[in-house]
């Protein structure tokens, strides 16, 4: 279960956190591919996956429940903790 708290700040800046370190090489990196659940997004990502794997990357696949809403906080957390980088695929 997710926990919600009220923002204690003056809300002058977005509730962001520091960006992860940028990766410098695909070799051995774990790349998340996030399908936003639009038609044929999987076809596009299948191709991206095979290209990434040829360059030595490990690929993990994720899917948003619906493209109409931001990814659920648990999914974002899972991606953030298991991947070095993520590619989010738009499709139509």
């Amino acid at each position: 279960m997710t926990i919600s708290v009220l923002d204690p700040t003056g809300e002058q800046v977005p509730a962001h956190r520091t960006r992860a370190q940028r990766i410098t090489s695909l070799e051995g990196a774990t790349i998340g591919l996030l399908d936003i659940s639009k038609p044929r997004g999987d076809v596009f990502l299948d191709t991206v996956q095979s290209l990434l794997e040829k360059k030595g990357a490990n690929v993990l696949r994720f899917t948003k429940p619906t493209f109409t809403k931001p990814a659920p906080v648990d999914l974002r957390h899972e991606i953030a903790t298991t991947c070095d980088a993520v590619i989010e695929a738009l499709a139509d």
Binding site: S4, V5, D7, P8, G10, A15, R17, T66, V73, E78
Partner: protein, 482 residues
């Protein structure tokens, strides 16, 4: 946690609005489901005649949409025993068919997919009002942590902490905290420095929860912040200075007892919840709302443990004298908070003086070291006289005024010893001050005398101040209103 939300009819429940093309699109589906008695109710957010069905229910107040946290229309809930058990959002023919267990949903030529629109209940212009109207009382942004995330670590990551753990400020805890005041959550207490951001009662309550306060401490925290953020007290300067000072807080009057503050043994130390959390709440509010953080606008060279928030009470019952608040004209049934721009405390030991005069000289010598022994008049001080020291004065019949006057008189020194270069010390007063005598502390309020501490120990405590008056910070006292 008790679920206080209005109950829902069992079966399936839909939320729609007329001003949404997807909701328009699925009207035939809603009709089909109503006829089959699968759908129990359709809550409409903006038009009571949309959709035109017997089961359409008026939610133009957005109460149900708010309580069930509808973010998108259409949203379809599955309900059991009046409670939601599952939901889907937007329109997908395939998803709705499987969710409802119905094949051939809608007309054959219906678009199989349409994402839906934003719910009116999350309209940025309405959300805060809805929170207040429906008793959630919170207009602040909601921050969600993932279930696999440790909420205590997540709060550290966001920079909300002074370094110690925080209590997560959930809506429930913040609402309970707000019970501690009669002020409305949206009322502005002050403009919090350094960014001069409106500090609402609700933001104070959130930071008070995080600091570990009980609701009954909230009026003290609010009064302290009102005082801190005045031009006279100059919280901005206190925050930005390289000196190791913070707002030292002490409390007088009946609230000391009702919130069980410590004015006795270890009053400046750890162990009492009110003492430990009130000052911390003040500092967290300045940090989080005002944006004042160490390394940012806070430029303290060394800082001080007092910057976590130093708060204590005066022992009025044990004191041979009137309280600080009474000296200022407040009555014994008024509660007050005083803010003093000060460093961490230190002790003056004197175990040998037997006469009041000896002790006054001794305490004066201890005060001379504040800031720099050769600096005078510019920095005020608090002297907390312990019970054993105070009895020396009380037994001789010395009033607090006399103690104050005698101590200041005993700090008077030949200014030739204070000027730059004297005693081989470059620091000191400009040459122009040579040839006179000067006290360490200004006679018109430069020394605050308080009574407090444990019964045993021939000690008193000093809290050295910062630049006093218009050029720095003037200590302030304010009544605490409940």
């Amino acid at each position: 946690m008790a679920d206080n939300r209005p109950r829902l009819p069992d079966g399936f429940v839909a939320f729609v609005k007329q001003d949404c093309p997807t909701c328009e699109l699925i009207v035939p589906v809603l009709e089909q489901l109503a006829e089959a008695e699968l759908l129990s109710v359709v809550y409409t957010q903006d038009d009571v005649s949309f959709p035109n069905l017997p089961i359409t229910s008026d939610d133009t107040s957005l109460e149900m949409s708010f309580f069930y946290e509808i973010e998108t229309v259409p949203t379809l809930l599955k309900t059991v025993k009046g409670r939601e058990v599952d939901r889907i959002v937007g329109w997908s023919q395939e998803e709705w068919s499987s969710f409802l267990g119905v094949e051939d949903l809608g007309p054959e030529d219906i678009r199989p997919y349409s994402p839906g629109c934003g719910s009116l209940s999350v309209d940025p212009d309405l959300e805060g009002k809805l929170r207040q109207r429906y008793g959630k009382g919170a207009a602040s942004r909601v921050v969600k942590f993932a279930s696999a995330e440790d909420e205590f670590e997540a709060m550290y990551d966001r920079g909300w902490s002074d370094g110690l753990p925080l209590i997560p400020p959930t809506v429930e805890r913040v609402l309970a905290m707000l019970e501690g005041t009669t002020l409305q959550p949206e009322e502005v207490v002050a403009l919090a420095p350094p960014n001069l951001v409106s500090l609402t009662v609700e933001k104070v309550a959130i930071n008070a929860v995080m600091a570990g306060c009980k609701p009954e401490y909230l009026p003290v925290v609010i009064a302290a912040l009102e005082t801190a953020c005045t031009d006279e007290f100059n919280m901005h300067g206190l925050l930005a200075t390289t000196m190791p000072v913070g707002p030292i807080i002490f409390v007088n009057g009946p609230i000391r007892k009702s919130i069980e503050m410590n004015s006795g043994m270890n009053l400046l130390g750890q162990g009492n919840r009110a003492n430990s959390t009130i000052g911390r709440a003040v500092q967290l509010a300045i940090r989080n709302v005002g944006g004042g953080r160490p390394g940012g606008v806070d430029r303290a060279t060394h800082g001080s443990p007092a910057k976590y928030g130093l708060c204590f009470a005066e022992d009025e019952e044990g004191s041979p004298w009137s309280s600080h608040a009474q000296d200022l004209g407040f009555s014994p049934d008024q509660s007050t908070v005083t803010l003093f721009p000060g460093e961490g405390p230190r002790v003056i030991v004197d175990q040998l003086s037997r006469s009041p005069d000896e002790l006054a000289r001794s305490l004066a010598s201890g005060l001379i070291g504040n800031a720099h022994p050769k600096w005078v008049m510019g920095f005020d001080a608090i002297l907390i006289i312990g019970p054993e020291h105070a009895s020396r004065f009380a037994e001789a019949g010395w009033s607090k005024e006399k103690v104050n006057e005698e101590i200041i008189n005993h700090t008077i020194r030949d200014s030739n010893d204070l000027i730059r270069g004297a005693d081989g010390i470059a620091e000191g007063l400009p040459e122009a001050f040579a040839g006179t005598s000067l006290p360490k502390l200004r006679p018109d309020g430069g020394l605050i005398i308080l009574y407090g501490g444990g019964e045993a120990g021939l000690f008193s405590a000093i809290i050295g101040g910062w630049i006093s008056g218009d050029k720095g910070s003037q200590y302030q006292t304010r009544e605490i209103t409940l």
